[in-house]
Amino acid sequence: MDLNYTAEQDAFRKEARAWLEANVPREPLPSFDTREGFEAHRAWEKQLNAGGWAMVPWPVEYGGRGANLLEWLIFEEEYYRAGAPGRVNQNGIFLLGPTIMEYGTPEQKARFLPKMASSEEVWAQGWSEPNAGSDMAAIQASAVLDGDHYVINGQKTWASRGAYADWLFGMFRTDPDSERHRGLTFVLVPLDLPGVTVRPIEQLDGEAGFAEVFLNDVRVPVENQLGEVNRGWDVAMATAGFERGLMLRSPARFQNTARKLVALYRETAASGQPIDAGLRDTVARCWVDAEAYTLNTYQTVSHLLAGGKIGSESSLNKIFWSELDLRMHEAALSLLGARAELLPQAPAAEGVGDWLDGYLFALSGPIYAGTNEVQRNIIAERILGLPRK
């Protein structure tokens, strides 16, 4: 065990820091859940890609930097430290991209990955249906083979980034007689095809972060199938693992929030405002937990770099980061007191920051990527060995 960074890792950090300092937009971009913000984020992704920093852990041949996971963690720390914009194409970069690398044909890799890297094509998730959320095995939308095309019918909902995205990935039932997780196939669907109707859904924050997608006799070429026919479940489980696990939830995000929370506590104390005595302990706890999440990730990455594998452990991560994120935002709102409900345009909102917005987003953490209740069942059954029934 050696928790000191090597000279190469320090040099990598320095390089990332210098590029970010020179390139990160001075003013925060508008939310990517607005049309204007979406395009501004797409432009930022292009800039990142031009600098060689869009797909840090991807192999060089797919437009990445070929960095190992440790370097990726370092990059993420610098990315958040620099206050750089959120990644509008995270569904592509962190979820679908690695899945295509694992399950895609050479043609699919060449076709999809470079455009994902440049965010010329931004991806939406098509996991949920009105009757299938965390229970993905209940999927009903169908894909029927007709020559060299699938004819897709059905409805997807809560499709994150669906309002403005270019493509959607999801599972469709290819065997009409199948049950549960058998007979599903993973298909990549362009959202500009005839028969596709996208209806944006306003989220809790009032923006169109996700959408309903209606698919009516949509003809998708069969080469858009990812992995084997009727074996989409295996592909989706790999994607879900990336979603719950460390790729998408880099510790830097939570460290950054913990640091901001400590700063908020200091400012509030300095302003002479009374602070609930319990909040000091709460803030200390949050800071410790952000450390714990960081360390756990470094431990996992060391394990992976030494040739180890991870499986159901990503369910432990999912619960820990989502609840930590929520606790940190709740603590911040408590510190803000009456100002906690002010929108940014309120005259007295200066110094309130984006805690309210962050809180609304944090509320979705225990719901998406498989609800925390589903994760607890996974931990109990697959890690602790408790009986399923």
Binding site: D2, L70, V288, L295, L316, N377
Partner: protein, 349 residues
């Protein structure tokens, strides 16, 4: 950067695990509750043969010459086995003697490593001193002074405790110039690092204790039937156990990092140790609570072994600063600025 253990370190952990699993059944732990001293000099000698008391003692003095990173996994195993012998005290006392004086080291370390002598450290953070009754050498603090006294120069008052494995004492002693072995800045620094060593050892034991408590609860939940099915199939039971498993695994990372911080004496050492102690103790105490709930009334009996580990979780929480004490220390450092809130990662190139 590599946050992992070597094959040798993991192998040694397995060796200690296997030894304790076969040589220290819980009946033996309980049997010692009724013995006068609560300790087995014979078993301690056998532990010395596999290197436990000599872990942090140099090879020159007959020890293994290892550091806290090597030791943390082994101490975790002693927690899993509910070993009552003074592992925590020894892991504080041995390095303290090494740091204090070469004549003390020459006189005591080889005997300690061989399991033939015991030393304990009294520290202000502990209201009472554990295992003082079996100590040959007592390192006692007074302000920033450390005094070394042999057993015949102190008077002990036993303080019976909730955990029958815990042997606690108030110590009456007289200090003089001749017993003083450190003072001033040096004394303060040695007492500070002793506190960190004690807290880390407790935290490491708590990992083993928590793991064992979860294991006991899972085993019972798979065996016990109610309403015609195993109670472990109930979602309410699953979710309680899953939550405590999450707490344990995240405490684990903090404990291993704290071992690294002590071995390297990093700038954030004390805060890192406090993070470890606060989180591991909380995880173990919560594991005890949940394991008891899963067991139901049978868990609330003296006869069931569950409380052997549950009481250990409680007593380890209280030793060397409880969770609240350590979190207050973290808050002082992080919020009041003694430590920048950038302890891990973000190291300036």
């Amino acid at each position: 950067m590599n946050f992992g253990f070597s094959e040798d370190q993991l192998l040694l952990q397995q060796t200690v695990h296997d030894f304790l699993a076969s040589e220290l059944p819980v009946d033996e732990v309980r049997k010692l509750w009724n013995e006068d001293t609560g300790r087995s000099a014979e078993f301690w000698k056998r532990l010395a043969e596999i290197g436990i008391p000599g872990l942090l003692i140099s090879e020159d003095h007959g020890g293994l010459g290892m550091n806290e990173i090597d030791g943390v996994l082994l101490i975790e195993e002693t927690g899993r086995a509910a070993l009552a012998e003074p592992v925590v005290q020894t892991s504080v006392a041995a390095p303290l003697i090494t740091a204090l004086s070469s004549s003390l080291a020459d006189q005591w370390l080889a005997k300690i490593a061989a399991g033939e002598a015991l030393a304990v450290v009294q520290h202000d953070v502990n209201a009472f001193t554990s295992d003082a009754h079996v100590a040959d050498l007592l390192l006692l603090s007074h302000g920033d002074e450390i005094h070394a006294l042999s057993a015949d120069r102190v008077s002990l008052t036993a303080q019976p405790a909730n955990d029958p494995s815990q042997r606690l004492f108030a110590i009456d002693w007289t200090r003089d110039d001749e017993t003083r072995v450190a003072s001033g800045k040096a004394g303060r620094a040695l007492l500070a690092i002793s506190l960190d060593r004690g807290a880390l050892a407790c935290a490491a034991q708590q990992l083993g204790v928590a793991d064992k408590l979860i294991e006991l609860a899972v085993a019972y939940a798979c065996e016990r039937k109610q309403f015609g099915v195993q109670i472990g199939s109930f979602q309410a039971v699953k979710h309680m156990l899953a939550d405590v498993k999450v707490r344990l695994e995240y405490a684990r990372s903090l404990v291993y990092r704290a071992a690294h911080s002590l071995a390297r004496d990093t700038r954030g050492r004390s805060v890192d140790v406090s993070c470890a102690k606060a989180a591991a103790s909380e995880a173990a105490v919560a594991a005890g609570r949940i394991a008891l709930q899963v067991h139901g009334a049978i868990g609330y009996t003296w006869e069931q072994d569950l409380h052997v580990w549950m009481r250990r979780a409680w007593s380890l929480d209280l030793a060397w600063g409880n969770s609240a004490w350590h979190r207050a220390r973290i808050a002082d450092a992080v919020i009041d600025g003694a430590l920048p809130a950038e302890n891990f990662g973000y190291s300036a190139p």
